[in-house]
């Protein structure tokens, strides 16, 4: 992988919070990169650190009190430890974010137009005429009917799906290099979810931007992602292309996740499931963090943490069951 192709390069990122009962290692040494024009999906259950990861990239984690270490290389610059006023040129301009709950992402006291105008004013133009034209064009782009009317309306006058599309328009208006989408469809209904995903796919092709897409739903991953990183308890445990993840999942946790989909064939039988619960972030087990729930547990799993081993060009996994370069054993 050549350096120019990487839009963002995260190396050994750690985000710790100090809690009442010890250090909370929300993100514990993860490395990944994002290529130009691809959709990278971070998958994991709640509490695995996927939201903290992207919030750290966006510079939304205040440090101190939190401790952030490692490197986030964007455009040859390290974003870790960057001053807030330097961050202003990047956040919302070069890297923008779509949040989970569209209903609570807007300020109820300002109109849609005013809120988008804030971004346009900071990053593009302070000419009001020009910015209004730009905003209405952006709203049209995400299929909002009657954008001129919507411009002067308040968030409560719109439905969740419409607000999410406005949020997407807001994220795209500065033509960013990277869009971070933090569970953008979780709060929406299935029919609206399908619309939003379709829109995101189209716009991504049109703008050729790179997306980090966070979700817990592997079904959505199969629809939108190019590459998938599976997270568990603050670590990335498996990295692969989307086809590889669905065809040959290697880590027992990934296999468990894929199996716990409710399929039609299971009717009348028990569903397969993963034993136990996700560990709390202040009491992660020693060794591999998945070991208390793992059906293939060995002695080494409880004592030593597995390193990332490359199975093939587009697939790597952190598990003691696999050795570098081979693709064998259980399935």
């Amino acid at each position: 992988m050549t350096y120019e192709n990487k839009v963002i390069d995260v190396k050994n990122l750690k985000t710790y919070f100090r809690g009442y009962d010890g250090m909370i290692k929300a993100v514990d040494g993860i490395s990944f990169f994002l290529k130009k024009g691809e959709v990278l999906s971070l998958v994991g259950e709640s509490g695995c650190g996927k939201s903290v990861t992207v919030n750290t990239i966006m510079g939304l984690i205040k440090s101190p009190p939190a401790t952030v270490s490692g490197e986030i290389i964007y455009n040859g610059k390290n974003l870790v430890g960057l001053k807030q006023n330097e961050f202003k040129n990047i956040r919302g301009n070069k890297i923008s974010m779509i949040f989970q709950e569209p209903m609570s992402s807007f300020d109820p006291l300002y109109t849609i137009g005013q809120q988008i105008n804030e971004i346009v004013k900071t990053h593009i133009t302070s000419n009001n005429e020009e910015s209004k034209k730009l905003i209405i064009h952006a709203l049209k782009n995400v299929n909002i009917p009657e954008p001129e009317k919507r411009y002067n309306e308040y968030p409560h006058e719109m439905s969740g799906g419409m607000l999410q599309r406005i949020l997407i328009a807001m994220a795209l208006i500065t033509n960013p290099d990277i869009i971070i989408a933090d569970e953008p469809t979780t709060a929406l209904d299935v029919t609206i979810q399908a619309q939003v995903l379709k829109l995101m796919k189209e716009l991504q092709k049109q703008y050729n931007s790179s997306i980090i897409f966070i979700t817990h739903d592997l079904g959505i991953v199969s629809e939108i992602a190019d590459r998938v990183h599976v997270m568990y308890a603050g670590k990335i445990i498996e990295k692969a292309s989307v086809q590889e993840i669905f065809d040959h999942p290697l880590h027992p946790y990934t296999q468990g996740l894929l199996n716990s989909r409710v399929k039609k064939e299971y009717k009348g039988r028990d569903l397969p499931f993963i034993e136990g619960y996700v560990p709390k972030p202040n009491e992660f087990p020693n060794g591999c963090r998945f070991n208390p729930r793992c059906p293939f547990k060995k002695e080494i799993c409880t004592s030593e943490e597995p390193k990332e081993s490359l199975i093939n060009e587009e697939h790597s996994v952190c598990c003691w069951l696999y050795k570098e370069g081979e693709n064998n054993e259980n399935s």
Binding site: A194, S222, S260, V262, L271, F273
Partner: protein, 329 residues
């Protein structure tokens, strides 16, 4: 044996405004629903948010009073009562014991100031099931083991448990009075995927052991299909289709059901199917539902008739009923 039967059940929530709080409109949450629940049967209710599925569940539990229609409750001795109007204390206590509920969010449905023992004890004590304290303790311990928790957990408080464990406690609480019907209002939607299957398996096991009936409300078609014998599809307060769950998946009739099915992600990166199906628009507001068929503004197979006449549910053989003009003879 029947447990509950609802006959053209209707619920409007009045909107009041002005100084004198005059009624200026209605949220039409549920329109003329007919449901019959037999012993041991599971009925699934699917639909998007705001379609009235939770309202239906709460009406059946008599947490809301219906605007119109009847709910007939049949007790163990096969006596039937109409419970829509005021009911006598004896009937009420029987009904409350027979019908229980599991709520969506286990983080809200358990009192944070009560320990697990007290939470489970409350319905048992209210129904006067055990006078002897030791018997009660043993019963609560057996309930906890029944839902896969250790009896020692009884002295802990809800905040010490994860979401999946809390939902298990909620199930134990609902099971405590040995009900004949449990209404589950999205019991797994607040849980992680790996824990969801555990809870579904547990519900299924408990149901089979006790020959209980379930009303399973969810927006997830796959989960509803797995749980239920019969499925009811709702849209904007109307039941648009109802039939056996196999039949619904093999032969969906209503255009809305077909839309719902096509919106389930494929789980296969080779056949990305979401881009192919187009569902324009969003559900209209239940305050001002469209004339005629409620789905017609989004329906691709719209006819002139759909805008004027509201289709009524009618049988198309095999207990498959659908409310759509397309299937009228």
């Amino acid at each position: 044996m029947k447990i509950l039967e609802a006959i053209s059940l209707k619920k409007y929530f009045p909107i009041r405004s002005g100084v004198f709080l005059q009624v200026c409109g209605n949220v039409k949450a549920l329109e003329k629903a007919d449901i019959k629940i037999e012993q041991g049967q599971t009925i699934g209710v699917v639909g998007e948010s705001g379609c009235g599925k939770s309202t239906l569940g709460k009406l059946l539990l008599k947490l809301y009073d219906p605007t119109d229609g009847k709910i007939i409750y049949t007790d163990k001795e096969n006596n039937s009562y109409d419970i829509t109007s005021r009911i006598s204390k004896t009937v009420a206590s029987k009904f409350r014991r027979d019908v229980q509920m599991i709520f969506q969010n286990p983080f809200d449905s358990l009192d944070p100031r009560m320990n697990i023992y007290d939470i489970i004890k409350e319905p048992i004590a209210a129904n006067g099931m055990y006078k002897n304290k030791r018997e009660m303790n043993n019963y609560i311990a057996s309930l906890l083991t029944g839902v896969g928790l250790y009896p020692e957990y009884a002295s802990r408080y809800p905040h010490e448990f994860s979401g999946g464990q809390r939902q298990r406690i909620a199930i134990a609480r609902a099971m405590a009075v040995m009900p004949r019907l449990i209404v589950c209002d999205e019991p797994t939607s607040a849980l992680d995927v790996s824990v969801q299957s555990q809870i579904i398996n547990l519900l299924k096991h408990i149901q089979q052991e006790n020959r209980m009936s379930l009303i399973f409300i969810s927006h997830n078609l796959d989960v509803v299909h797995h749980m239920s014998d019969r499925i009811i599809v709702m849209y904007l307060g109307n039941i648009v289709e109802s039939c056996a769950s196999e039949e619904l998946f093999n032969n969906p009739l209503h255009p809305y059901t077909k839309t719902l099915m096509s919106c389930i992600p494929a789980w296969n990166p080779k056949e990305k199917k979401l881009g192919k199906t187009i569902t324009e628009g969003e559900p209209p507001s239940p305050i001002n539902p469209p004339n005629g068929c409620p789905f017609h503004p989004r329906c691709q197979l719209k006819m002139i008739e759909c805008e004027k006449v509201k289709p009524l549910p009618h049988e198309c053989g095999d207990g498959h009923s659908v409310a759509c003009h397309l299937y009228k003879k």
